[in-house]
């Protein structure tokens, strides 16, 4: 199973986002690099708005991810509530 991944610039907001990903995606592997953080998940990576909001203690629009993204891998599907990256095969 190929890894879907996402990488963010390191800051306080993305710390919450990464926490949310780890909580919602069993098997998530967090890789720390200078100034950036990358999360790999086999097959499918989901970011749930509700979990991020819980971590941040405020409302969160998934389009805010735009501000911190460095790169992604996988097919993207975005709704109001979920941001999903996945590979088939």
């Amino acid at each position: 199973m190929s890894n879907a991944f996402i990488a963010f610039q390191k800051n306080d907001e993305t710390r919450c986002i990464v926490e949310a990903i780890v909580e919602d995606n069993p098997g998530a592997i967090v890789v720390d690099q200078p100034a950036m953080v990358k999360v790999d998940v086999p097959g499918k990576l989901v970011i749930r708005r509700s979990t991020v909001e819980e971590k941040m203690g405020r409302e969160f629009d998934l389009q805010e991810l735009q501000l911190h993204l460095i790169t992604i891998s996988g097919h993207l599907d975005e709704t109001d509530d979920e941001f999903t990256l996945s590979w088939q095969g």
Partner: protein
């Protein structure tokens, strides 16, 4: 927006209403006159509405998020410049990374911008048009923020001030120029595969992620901020490239062989282009974060592998060059640095011999090849340098007719032999660096016989500065190359002994003493 209505509509519906509902099929002018370029490449599109928009940014959201990014970015740039941030980089050698980067990257970002404006005008569907136009303005952003971040370095260091002039003249920038010229002169779908897919999806991670992480590691906050901020747009660009591939493949089975040929061609062209990026990672960053080989494995072999495994359902196979790139990842950065080291008088950045510790790092990172093939070269050159005879090759190189790089890479399976290929077309002989470039040529010879190769053009008197009389009896072609390039004398020669080296040391001294 009214939450009640917003909820009723949802992100996808709302976005549809905000983009594709705006478009209509023209009737006073035929659609094929309004959009004249979408058929001649042979790609068949039956239903543009089947395009899936991956990111669904309306302009208000785009402006909101992009403005927030720019506010942050320019605040950091200003602070970095005001505090003489350039003196906080690890070592003045690092600045040569910026010289190569400034010459090669912002001009290409700009070409990408113009190319996406063209494709954004030519695509029939509203979905891809809007995504392309958004990418076009993003590319302006990248070009300009890169220039703005390096502008302050230009005030203190050599080799940066003539990048705009050199972009079309410098021999070693011709590979990138030919890459983008090639893409932009192709049709809209091939452009999307070349830039949107091969470059943005398959290869751009190598350029930005480890390289910009490397800038951060070397204390260059300005480059790091600009690089990562650009990457935040890249995620959008990558999904556009991937969506475009899927769209073509889903529209008609006849598209597969065309798309596959483009994937083969552009992955190879991109790989060649990235050799100099790998060289920056392995040789030019004073503090290294990972080797090119490691980056290649993560971002090309693993990530690209996942991608091609996924696309297999459409019948796409891994690019033909894949095995060769895996073999070459052990070699190309060394061969590139050696190639550049040999030309200290003809480049707008400095080169140098790796230090003994750096040689050891390279041995550790390249256990299969470095000690066997490349360490002896560097040790020999270090000896020559010590004896006051730094190696300096003044002969004209041979260039590949397709990728325009100096023919310097090895024969597949034989690291000791340089790979040469040739092809005869209409009685003329053309040279190539590889089988892949030869094959690209043979598929479209009428295009690639046009390639502008500096070493050939010089002999025809076409690389002369303004004001030189090429009809004068004593005219000697190529005798004014420094003026033609506007090459700063301070950037010629080895890094050791350079003005940059002296100034950086003196300025740092000032900063550490009272």
């Amino acid at each position: 927006m009214d939450m009640k209505v917003a909820k009723k509509l949802g992100l996808k519906e709302r976005y549809t209403m905000m983009t594709r509902d705006l478009a209509w099929d023209t009737t006073y002018q035929p659609m094929d006159k309004v959009f004249p370029q979408v058929t001649y490449e042979g790609i068949k599109i039956h239903d543009w509405d089947k395009w899936e928009d991956p990111f669904r940014l309306t302009m208000d959201a785009y402006w909101k998020y992009q403005a927030e990014k720019e506010r942050k970015l320019y605040a950091i740039l200003d602070a970095f410049n005001q505090n003489n941030g350039h003196l906080s980089v690890t070592d003045a050698r690092y600045i040569n990374v910026l010289k190569l980067f400034l010459g090669s990257t912002p001009p290409l970002e700009l070409m990408a911008g113009r190319g996406f404006s063209m494709v954004g005008r030519q695509m029939v569907g509203a979905g891809p048009r809007v995504a392309c136009m958004m990418q076009a303005v993003d590319e302006y952003r990248h070009c300009q923020t890169q220039i703005h971040s390096i502008s302050n370095y230009n005030k203190f260091y050599s080799g940066l001030s003539e990048f705009a002039h050199q972009q079309s003249r410098m021999w070693y920038l011709a590979d990138g120029k030919s890459f983008f010229d090639d893409a932009i002169t192709a049709g809209p779908f091939e452009f999307m595969v070349a830039i949107g897919f091969a470059f943005e999806y398959v290869l751009t991670n190598i350029l930005f992620v480890p390289f910009i992480s490397g800038a951060a590691y070397n204390g260059d906050m300005a480059a790091m901020t600009v690089g990562f901020s650009a990457q935040s747009d890249e995620a959008r660009h990558m999904t556009l490239g991937l969506e475009c591939i899927k769209f073509m493949l889903e529209q008609d089975p006849d598209n597969l062989p065309i798309v596959q040929r483009w994937i083969d061609k552009w992955t190879w062209r991109g790989t060649r282009k990235l050799a100099s990026v790998g060289m920056m990672m392995d040789y030019m960053l004073p503090k290294r974060i990972m080797s090119f080989k490691e980056a290649w494995e993560i971002y090309f072999e693993e990530n690209g592998g996942a991608l091609f495994k996924d696309l297999a359902r459409y019948g796409v196979t891994v690019p033909k060059c894949f095995p060769q790139t895996i073999e070459e990842k052990e070699h190309i950065t060394h061969q590139s640095w050696i190639g550049f080291y040999m030309k200290p008088d003809a480049m707008s950045f400095h080169t140098w011999s790796p230090s003994p510790e750096e040689l050891d790092w390279l041995s550790e990172k390249y256990p299969n090849t470095f000690d066997k093939y490349y360490r002896p070269v560097y040790e020999h050159w270090a000896k020559m340098e010590k004896a006051g005879k730094r190696f300096n090759n003044k002969t004209q190189p041979m260039n590949c007719q397709v990728c325009v790089t100096t023919v310097k890479y090895n024969e597949p399976g034989d690291p000791m032999t340089t790979c040469f290929r040739e092809s005869i077309y209409k009685g003329e002989k053309y040279h190539f660096c590889s089988d892949h470039c030869k094959e690209i040529f043979e598929h479209e010879p009428e295009k690639y016989i046009q390639t502008f190769i500096t070493s050939h053009q010089v002999l025809q008197g076409k690389c002369e500065p303004e004001g030189v009389d090429t009809d004068a009896p004593d005219f000697k072609p190529g005798s004014h190359m420094m003026e033609y390039w506007r090459l700063d004398p301070d950037v010629q020669g080895d890094f050791n002994g350079s003005l940059d080296q002296k100034n950086f040391a003196a300025w740092r001294e000032l900063a550490t003493k009272n």
